[in-house]
Symmetry: C2
Subunit: 314 residues, 2 copies
């Protein structure tokens, strides 16, 4: 997919993100996390035996139909690398192709890879995300997620590569999972660890602020922690927030309201399983047939869009 | 590479690792981190223009010759996923094939992927590492590295998958890079954050101790922090230590001595660039021709083996 970057990513990441939120009046990020067992039965292989090829084909149909269906209700598609790596090497090509599909549908894309390593290796990861060997191989996402445990030199190579492309980076600050407190909430001199991480992220963000007032360096903060979300929104006023954990993980619209600024900008809220597997939820199962998993996903995305907009009164 | 697991990995990871260290009297882990620019000139393409195919072929020749040359001096080959992801999708197949080559040469293998995510996604990553869809696709490494920032539920899926295979997991505790202190050294109630992480790792390790007295759950601690290495060796007596940062990053044999127990067991020390790019170092450049990069790597590995053994007096 060489050329995607230069064609569509000249503008500053945060400016593109905030413009898309305003234009579509949506703050929904759809997480594309396919697993064979949870695909709708119409996509299962005839004999029930999965092969690498049949999984790849089923993932492709599932994900591309979901993307087309949710495109008008969402602003961002977030692809979790894990689910495609589990199907490598076919998964790599599929991920590239789906990132392109999402971009063609007008969605911004995030590669949720949560990468981290020492500087020289982080540079190789940044290369893997934003344009592979020999040059500009692979689809280029609009942003990537990284893990901060190694500190600045593990994050900088991502920021530098992203800068060149007008892309963005979301750093894990306070994650949505139940055991996030074990490390992230340790009290270090009156501040939890995640608050120290937020200060680092803030410092990386300051040099990278676009016309929207937001930086290309953002933060990941779970919807499952509404109090911390409010605290961190205030602590990092220039950082776009990627808020996962809505829906299946328990976050509700009221919980994420604090992520947004007074104009309803500054954040996107992710739901993965709650949208892409909506077809298996009782409330949608009744309304849609087994082949209408994409319409169920669209309904769930639209419902989420409205619930968040209602909660922040935009 | 279906079947590798069942054929060679029945025994407990730590027992296999300690037996290999004792048998070969080596504590050397060779890091396989190929980048096109640093390959010996004899492997560069004729016109100097890299293509995806020519990089893949050059990586394959470079890495497999290095593996064959260092196999008698080292115990473990550590493959850093980043450098192969930067060449995806060809990199995925190459990584699989090199893990198999290393295993055939009698080396244990570590996939240095530093993965982390919430539980359901960590399970997909564990799947990607230890046997892909539909079942047992891809080469299975003996161990994987993971990042602890998300806490227990981000790590558990790796431990569970590893348990089933007799494989191991190394958790980042105190990394070798210059900015590791930013988060890892924050003082949290009298202990630095990395020490709290060590306690978590210790608790995960306790249920997984083999006959050697070591657990299948280990820790990554940089050679660049000799004081912390001694502190953590004592704090986590059952954890095998993976000690990166030797050589190019500045760690010396005396710095890593504290990683070992009284029998000279319990740890492996990694050097990547210092071994695989030895051909470009002045001291080896004089002794070996430009095509003898593998012999230069073998000489560097053997020198490292002896320097460490001298430092711990075994």
């Amino acid at each position: 997919m060489s050329g995607i970057a230069s064609e569509t990513m000249a503008e500053h990441f945060a400016d593109r993100l905030m413009a898309a939120i305003a234009e579509r009046n949506s703050r929904v990020c759809v997480g594309i996390d396919p697993v064979p067992e949870r695909l709708p039965s119409v996509l299962h292989p005839p004999e029930g035996r999965w092969t690498e090829r049949s999984i790849s084909e089923a993932f492709e149909e599932f994900c591309s139909r979901i993307l087309r269906a949710v495109a008008e209700h969402a602003v961002v598609a977030k692809f979790n690398s894990a689910f495609f790596e589990a199907l490598s090497p076919l998964g790599v090509g599929l991920l590239d192709s789906l990132i392109s599909t999402a971009a063609d549908l007008g969605l911004l894309t995030i590669l949720d890879a949560k990468r981290s390593d020492i500087g020289s290796t982080a540079a190789a990861y940044a290369r893997a995300v934003f344009g592979r060997y020999p040059a500009d191989q692979g689809a280029v996402p609009d942003a990537v997620t990284v893990n901060p445990y190694l500190g600045s030199d593990g994050v900088m190579p991502f920021l530098t590569e992203a800068d060149d492309l007008g892309a963005g980076t979301f750093v894990l600050v306070k994650t949505s999972n139940p055991s996030s407190a074990e490390l992230q909430d340790l009290d270090a001199g009156g501040w939890p660890v995640y608050r120290h991480v937020a200060e680092l992220v803030k410092s990386w963000a300051e040099d990278r602020v676009g016309e929207s007032g937001y930086s290309s360096v953002g933060a990941v903060i779970g919807a499952t922690h509404p109090r911390q979300l409010a605290e961190l929104r205030e602590a990092m006023p220039q950082c776009p927030l990627l808020v996962p954990g809505y829906g299946a993980q328990g976050g509700a619209a009221a919980d994420v309201a604090a992520a947004f600024d007074a104009d309803g900008l500054g954040a996107i809220v992710n739901s993965s399983r709650g949208i892409i597997y909506a077809h298996a939820q009782e409330r949608y199962e009744k309304r849609f047939g087994p082949d209408d998993f994409d319409r169920a996903a669209a309904a769930a995305a639209e419902e989420m869009r409205r619930a968040i907009n209602d909660a922040i009164d935009v």
